[in-house]
Structure formats: structure tokens, C-alpha cells
């Protein structure tokens, strides 16, 4: 459990952050630029002192100076030591660490660093630099890892190159990770817990599934990205039609997925604009999925549209409907409803 309760004033900006997040896993700090994300991770790392408050990790109060705190930090700009080789950089923290649970060769192979060891940082691409920075932080045997927008300075291709390493880290090591980002897709793909920061305050937090239903999250994500994030298990594969069947809550959804394994857990995003509501299902539709559920809540989004949360049993979908449609179908909380979803509109994260 990471529990943060701090206050920090800097000029006319005030950070007042308070949250508790489960560990291990990836805790994403999500928010717009300037909302205080970096200030908060600097406080967790010990590079900044909070005016008031404490940070606790698994029952241990983090109040020691940064150099004795054992919190790994991967900065946005990598910050590799230019006068050391890649290997020298990797060993910098290792030499000064007390434990040695995470060993050099494992990290080198996990992050694919073997061909880079003899190089100097300036001879590396941006993505390679971030991988080295990640390895260097890991080898310092951290209690926790802070990643401050580690992909922000990379282009889309480099991002795709580094992202799988973060997933490996999440799935193979038990080191808790705090991941700072203002990129929605990164956060939805990697996070196990999301903390939403707005103007220096935590406005929402929870699992990606929970947070995707929060209005404050939807406001930051933007109208086009409003939708449910769902956790599912692949139950069946149709290799001919390249469709897989996903068990989500009590509902089953068919999804277009080129390479998936049965039994695999996947996270999918279903945008509110892609869900059609119907009071009865007629035949002859191209839609692959029709799930029955009931309307949990119905909230106005703007003067013309409403967002309906559809409980399908163990999972909630979000559908955007026009006010006009809502009136015609006489939508109201509690009523039974069909949700129609095209197989292609479910996006595996």
C-alpha cells in the first residue's frame, strides 16, 4: 500500500495530495501538464520536502534523505551520466545498494541491454536511453520505482519499443511502480490503479475500470475518449473469422483480435460513442454483440447528450445517447436495455 498525504506550496501553486493505492502494481498519476505530478513524485523520491505530511510505503514512513530512501527514479530526460559507459551507469546504483535481489545479468537480459553495455549514453537512441535509465534505477534495488513521463520525449515508434518493457516489469517483478503520464492510452494500458490529479489536488482514484466511469476523469480524457475500460478473459477463439470471445462480467463480447491466446486476461476500451442502446433486438443487424443489462445511471453530459451507465452484471458499459433518443426510448435508471456493440469497436489495450 502506498499512502500519500502531503501539502506543498511553491509560489502560488499548492499541491494538496492525499491517496492510498494498492501495491505491487502500476499506480498511474494522471493529469494535465502543470497539475503537480512531477512535484508529487519529487516528494515521494525525497528530492523535495513537503511542507506538511508524510509518504508511507507498505507501513514504512519515507522520511529519510533521498540517497537513503531506495526509491528508483526514471526521469523524463533519462539523465544518464555522460562520462560513464552504459555499464558504468547501470552499476552506479548497484554499487551503492545494500541488497542484491535484482541482479545485473537479469536486468540486462530483461531490458535487452547486452549490445549496448560498452557504449556511451550519447551513442544511444532516445528509447535505448530510457531503457538504460530504467535498468539503472532497477539495479539500485529500489523499494519502489518512479517513472516520470518516461515516454514523453519519444516518438510513437520509440514508445512502442519501450512500452513492452514496462509491461514485463509490471508482470515479472514485484517492485511497485508509480507511473506519471498525461497520455491516456499509456495509462489505460499499463495502470493497475489510477490517481487523477487536477490543479494540485486528487479528484478521483481507483482501478482503470472504476476510474473510466468517473465524470472528472471523463472531463480530462476528453469527449472522444469517454468510455468504459473493461477487464475480460478470452474464452474462445475463432481463427477463421479472426474474432475472439471475451467474458466480461456476466456478458460475453466478440472482439476483433488478430493474435490472442485463450485464457489470457485482456483489458479493452469501449468508447461511449460506439455503444447503441435498444429496447428490443431486431434481426438482420451487422452488430456482433447484443448484451442485455439495465440502466444504472443516466447523466446529462452536455445540453444535447446524455451518458448512460449500463450494468451488464459484473461490469458497466457507458453509452452516449442524444437527449432526443433518450426521450423517445423513455430511458430511465433501472430499466432493462440492450447494448449493441460492434466487434471492431472494442479496442484491446
Amino acid at each position: 500500500m502506498l499512502s500519500v498525504n502531503v501539502l506543498k506550496r511553491r509560489g502560488d501553486f499548492t499541491l494538496r495530495a492525499s491517496f492510498e493505492a494498492p501495491t505491487p502494481g502500476i499506480i498511474a498519476l494522471f493529469g494535465r501538464s502543470g497539475c503537480g505530478k512531477t512535484t508529487l513524485v519529487d516528494i515521494i523520491a525525497g528530492l523535495l520536502e513537503p511542507d506538511i505530511g508524510t509518504v508511507n510505503l507498505d507501513g514504512l514512513e519515507l522520511s529519510m534523505p533521498a540517497e537513503r530512501r531506495c526509491i528508483g527514479y526514471v526521469f523524463q530526460d533519462a539523465r544518464l551520466f555522460p562520462h560513464y559507459s552504459v555499464e558504468g551507469n547501470l552499476r552506479y546504483g548497484l554499487k551503492r545498494a545494500t541488497g542484491s535481489q535484482i541482479n545485473f545479468d537479469d536486468v540486462v537480459s530483461l531490458l535487452g541491454l547486452l549490445p549496448l553495455l560498452a557504449r556511451k549514453p550519447k551513442q544511444l537512441s532516445g528509447g535505448e536511453q530510457q531503457r538504460v535509465a530504467l535498468g539503472r534505477a532497477l539495479l539500485a534495488q529500489p523499494r519502489m520505482l518512479l517513472l516520470d513521463e518516461p515516454l514523453a520525449s519519444l516518438d510513437a515508434a520509440r514508445r512502442e519499443e519501450v512500452m513492452p518493457y514496462f509491461e514485463k516489469l509490471r508482470d515479472q517483478l514485484s517492485v511497485p511502480i508509480v507511473y506519471v503520464s498525461h497520455q491516456l492510452d499509456e495509462v489505460l494500458r499499463l495502470a493497475t490503479h489510477i490517481v487523477l490529479l487536477e490543479a494540485g489536488a486528487v479528484t478521483a482514484q481507483g482501478s482503470p475500470t472504476q476510474i473510466s466511469l468517473q465524470p472528472s476523469f471523463q472531463a480530462i480524457a476528453g469527449r472522444e475518449a469517454v468510455g468504459a475500460v473493461l477487464e475480460g478473459v478470452i474464452t474462445d477463439i475463432d481463427p477463421v473469422r479472426r474474432l475472439v470471445e471475451l467474458q466480461i462480467g456476466r456478458g460475453k463480447l466478440r472482439v476483433a483480435a488478430p493474435n490472442a491466446k485463450p485464457g489470457a486476461k485482456v483489458r479493452v476500451q469501449l468508447l461511449a460513442r460506439d455503444v447503441i442502446l435498444a429496447t428490443e433486438v431486431s434481426h438482420g443487424l451487422s452488430v456482433r454483440n447484443a448484451i442485455v443489462g439495465h440502466i444504472d445511471t443516466l447523466l446529462p453530459e452536455d445540453p444535447d447528450t446524455q451518458l448512460a451507465h449500463i450494468d451488464i452484471g459484473g461490469a458497466v458499459l457507458v453509452a452516449r445517447v442524444t437527449r432526443n433518443a433518450a426521450e423517445e426510448l423513455q430511458l430511465r435508471p433501472g430499466m432493462a436495455i440492450w447494448a449493441l456493440v460492434k466487434a471492431v469497436s472494442l479496442r484491446i489495450l
Partner: protein, 231 residues
Amino acid sequence: MIGELSSAEMDALRLSLEVATRSVLFSLPFAVFIAWILTRVRFPGRTLFDALVHLPLVLPPVAVGYLLLLLLGTRGPIGHWLNEHFGIVLVFSTAGAALATAVMTFPLMVRSIRIALENVDRGLEAAARTLGAGPLDRFTTVTLPLMLPGVLAGVVTAFAASLGEFGAVITFVSNIPGKTRTLPLALYTAIQSPDGDAMALRLAILSFVLGLAGLLLAEFLARRMRNALGR
């Protein structure tokens, strides 16, 4: 007219090199320390302190030499104490020449080291900190290696300038052959003597060559080191 160097000229050259070496070795640790304070520590009176450090650049060298004489002469407050307790006499000695030179070239060295220190990315020090490096560890493994090209440039520049220091030396430690008569003092002496033209010219050329070589060496070393540091 320009032939071999005479033994008096060789003495002057040797003495100049010795004075410059001692002066640089003596002032280097202080210069690093003062540069660090001026860059990293905020304290009241910092601007005044900065000005005091740079004062030798603008003061007449003779005034600096005279001040040293007042303070460090055998009857001066510090000089008397040094003589009484340690038997150290700085006036009329090679050590005194080195000290006077060190004071005069100190601002040059501080300036160069300070610029180097200002250019060290504080973010790298923060990174070292999160990797478990304490203050001294960070300074020796990150800050110092990264500012080394500037330190080296400062050392060579100060060394080259030390070879030519005249006013402060002649005022503080006089013009004693073999003890305090460095190149510029020997040059001055040669100009003063009726048949010293050839010697003066040789010494002037020697000074010119040494100065130029020093500056070129500084640039060369700084460049090589920047490459070694991966910039």
C-alpha cells in the same frame, strides 16, 4: 642576436615555471571551493564576496603586492605570526613570489571553474542522489568529472598568467636573481641595463611562446576532455 639562453635566462625560466606551478597547486583547492560557494550557496553579502574575489583583476598589481607586504611582511600581523610560530618568511622568497602570483591569478581560475560548475546539469546530481550517492560521493563521481574541462582550462590559463605576473611579485618579494627574478622581472632588468637589448628580446619572445603554448594547450585539453566525457 638570438642565440642560446644564458644561465641567468635559464634561471629566470626555471624560476617562472616553479613559481607558476606552486601558485596553481596552492590556489586550486581554494578556487574549487570558492567557485562552489559562489555557485551553489546563497548567503547575505554574496555579491560583496564575489567582488572581493575578483578584485585582483582590476586592482593595480603593485597595490596587491603592497597589501601583501603590509600583511605578510615580517612586521605585518600575519607575517609576524607565521615567522614566530613556524619560522616561515614569505618576503624575498620564492614561496612569497608564488603566493603573490596565486592571489593575482585566483580570479581567473575561480571564473573558469565557476562557469564549468554552472554548466553541470543539476538533474544528474539529483539522479545520482536517487541512486544512493551522498553529497561528497555525488561531488566526486558526478559534479567534479563533469566540470573537469573547465577546471583544467582554469589551471592552464592561471599557469600561463602566473608566468607573466610582474607588479605584485616585484613589490612583495623584490627582484632577487635565482630567488624571485622570474621571466618578466628578468626582462625588466634587461631593459634597464645598457647592453641588455638582445637578452630582453630573447626573454620577450620566450614569454610570448610560453603564453601562447599555454592557451593552446588549455583549449586542446578542454576539447579532448569534453570528448572523453561524452559531450
